[in-house]
Symmetry: C2
Subunit: 311 residues, 2 copies
Amino acid sequence: MKPFADRLAEAVRRTAAPVVVGLDPRLEGLPPALAPEERSPQTVASAFERFCREVIDAVACLVPAVKPQAAFFEQLGPAGMQALANLIAYARQKDLLVILDGKRNDIGSTAAAYADGWLGPGGCSPWGADALTVNAYLGEDAVQPFIETAKVRGAGLFVLVKTSNPGSRQFQDLVADGMPLYQHVGRWVEQIACQSLGQCGYSLVGAVVGATYPAQLAELRSLMPHVWFLVPGYGAQGGTARDVASAFDSQGLGAVVVSARGILFAYQNSPYRERFGPDHWQQAVEAATKDMIAQLRAETPASQLHPPSSS
Amino acid sequence: MKPFADRLAEAVRRTAAPVVVGLDPRLEGLPPALAPEERSPQTVASAFERFCREVIDAVACLVPAVKPQAAFFEQLGPAGMQALANLIAYARQKDLLVILDGKRNDIGSTAAAYADGWLGPGGCSPWGADALTVNAYLGEDAVQPFIETAKVRGAGLFVLVKTSNPGSRQFQDLVADGMPLYQHVGRWVEQIACQSLGQCGYSLVGAVVGATYPAQLAELRSLMPHVWFLVPGYGAQGGTARDVASAFDSQGLGAVVVSARGILFAYQNSPYRERFGPDHWQQAVEAATKDMIAQLRAETPASQLHPPSSS
């Protein structure tokens, strides 16, 4: 299996779209035709699976990757976990990279067990994700087992550095030795990232950096030149295409921007509600994805983000 | 449902044993009679389930709680998750409290989905755990949804403050505004804990503090007088009964100490290997649990830890 960093670079170049669609199914967001009549974990899990499959069908040709959010499947117990496994397999069949958003973290052999379970593009693990988000509060020896498994399997990681929520200031912005905690984490991520670079110049070790803190995003971009950024907080949380422009390198690589609600439930909100409505919710998903791609291209002059047909 | 803090206090008083048995099944640790012939996720998951059920049978009358480690079940995909759900239900039938070690963390409504799924003593969630470990790197607004669900359901939380691994120094010991990060987290946990105290004087919001840092454990105990401590790092990782003595209040409450490997796989190690051996592995589990309880009682003079029959 080719290194994750290179597979992501190729997928971004192929689609000319640095966009990751977040698969965050919610009961209240399901189009009426897919809403289950009764609300057992089993029926909701099948409704979530069907909804996400249809989202995948709508976006598979447009974007490089999807990001299932583990919480919304775990919420439904074992039935939800089976739906998650089915969806990861389905997305990979459709040539999408799958970044599992689980923010996993633990020490030593426990971290190794998480890594062994989740990181397995090509069927070498029961879940089979291409990449996983991880939390580094526990320190280097807790992240290292994830890196070793990722290296062997051609998988990737995104370490939480500066998250998109307002409360990320509380601990992540505490200043120690003259720099905020998120910079300590970020500098260390850059350092370990350099030990496993792909041909594209980026590492299998990526970082989560929120779109809602544009100044920190720009600062971290220059501190971490070998690290793919997974950028949440776009759209519903307030981040704009201009806010994330600094995340990209001069080729338009180095970052992928996530949108979940803004795409999945586009049919519920203007301007898509008026144009499509609940019966054509899949077309709303497609339109919202294309609009986001266009917005990012408009703010990012790099050639890689402008496919020949649109230049 | 009575508050988690009070249910834990009652269970510690009843058993006179502040011990949590970690359910961390590993293939290489299974007694030969339980080892699966082929190694598919399904067969390993059933072997793990059977092993953990028999561990639960051996310790149910001795300790207040068990702590399944999510990673070892997630490693096996959906089959492992089903085994985990079955085990949580089985442990609760046996009147054990179940602390799910998942170190979950995310923002806003995603955190709420994790909480809704995991925290459900008495069957009000698909997993039905009494308590969950959580990681606070993301900040207050990411922990609050866990607290709200825990409050409504009589469940508990343990926030990672100072973890037991050597690498916990890297970020947790960084000094900002004159105190290390783990103290910032600890002081804030004490503050939110005080907003939801049980009759026992402790809160539904607990903390994870490692046995391997005895000085910090003592320091945090005095900074966090209303917070139950879940103390990993005992035994295999190096923590001793003397190291954890400062975690208890004068009644012998306020902390529960975890052992996993040292109990589960006791039959593989001295002195239990010689006394029991693989065919009597369950008796080794029981003996190792009783020995740990005796060691903690010996170092902890508080009356609650000495049942009438032994005084």
